[in-house]
């Protein structure tokens, strides 16, 4: 599964993307955030406040309860500030 990071989430993780093998038991976006936060210091800093993190699955905005089943690309980023 391809994981992408944007803005300060990307900066804290230290990388724009990575490919992971989804461990068993990681079913939702929320699960994935918790699991990623435990990987290293950078990930921990990026996901220190999970509630502010926005997520997208395959280019579509989703909430943290969304199941990961079938997802090819999951992205994490701060609230948008475009426009």
């Amino acid at each position: 599964m391809r994981i992408r990071y944007f803005a300060w989430v990307r900066e804290r993780v230290g990388s724009p993307e990575e490919t992971i093998e989804l461990p068993e038991g990681i079913a939702s976006v929320r699960d994935l955030i918790a699991w990623l936060a435990g990987r290293d210091e950078g990930h921990a800093a990026a996901f220190a406040e999970p509630d502010v993190i926005r997520a997208a699955i395959d280019l579509e905005h989703v909430d943290h309860d969304t199941p990961l089943a079938g997802a090819r690309e999951v992205a994490f980023f701060p609230p948008m500030t475009g426009g």
């Binding site: 944007f6 803005a7 475009g82 426009g83």
Partner: protein, 160 residues
């Protein structure tokens, strides 16, 4: 769903809002109103060197397309054009243009205003400030007022 497709572009280059407006109205006699919104890079304190806009390629186009389709379902608009830039943008330069054409002014005004509120909160762009003599600065924080602005449209969603 309307028969026309919104014109959507995500690009680093500046755009020509007037040329886009011409493209939407030329040769047509059924339009009564064209509302255009241009969002500019503003230097409040006089210390901004540039904004750097990061975006999520692919999702940016998808999200803007979804916002435009929603506007087209809610109001009788005849054409929509949205161009959003990314990359480095200097103070005074345009960042985004939204154009909405309709037979009637209320629809054009409301659609353009709705589009901007949703671009601010649902399109995957992030602004970083570069301060003069200070290098890369902070990421611009999302504003509660922008969420509130987007929220004011929600009660009517799906109602039209």
């Amino acid at each position: 769903m309307p028969e026309w497709k919104p014109a959507i572009r995500v690009q680093p280059e500046p755009f020509d809002a007037a040329a886009e407006a011409r493209r939407m109205t030329e040769g047509r006699k059924d339009l009564g109103a064209l509302v255009s919104f241009v969002g500019l890079c503003r230097d409040e304190g006089g210390t901004l060197e540039a904004l750097e806009l990061e975006h999520y390629p692919g999702m940016a186009e998808e999200a803007i397309g979804a916002i435009a389709r929603e506007a087209a379902e809610r109001w009788p608009v005849a054409a929509i054009t949205i161009i959003h830039r990314y990359g480095r943008i200097a103070p005074g330069e345009p960042i985004v243009v939204v154009l909405a054409a309709s037979a009637h002014r209320e629809a054009a005004f409301e659609a353009a205003s709705f589009l901007m509120d949703f671009l601010k909160t649902r399109a995957p762009f992030w602004k970083k400030e570069h301060r003069r003599d200070a290098g890369p600065g902070d990421w611009v924080a999302a504003k509660a007022s922008d969420d509130a602005a987007a929220g004011r449209w929600r009660p009517a969603r799906g109602a039209k």
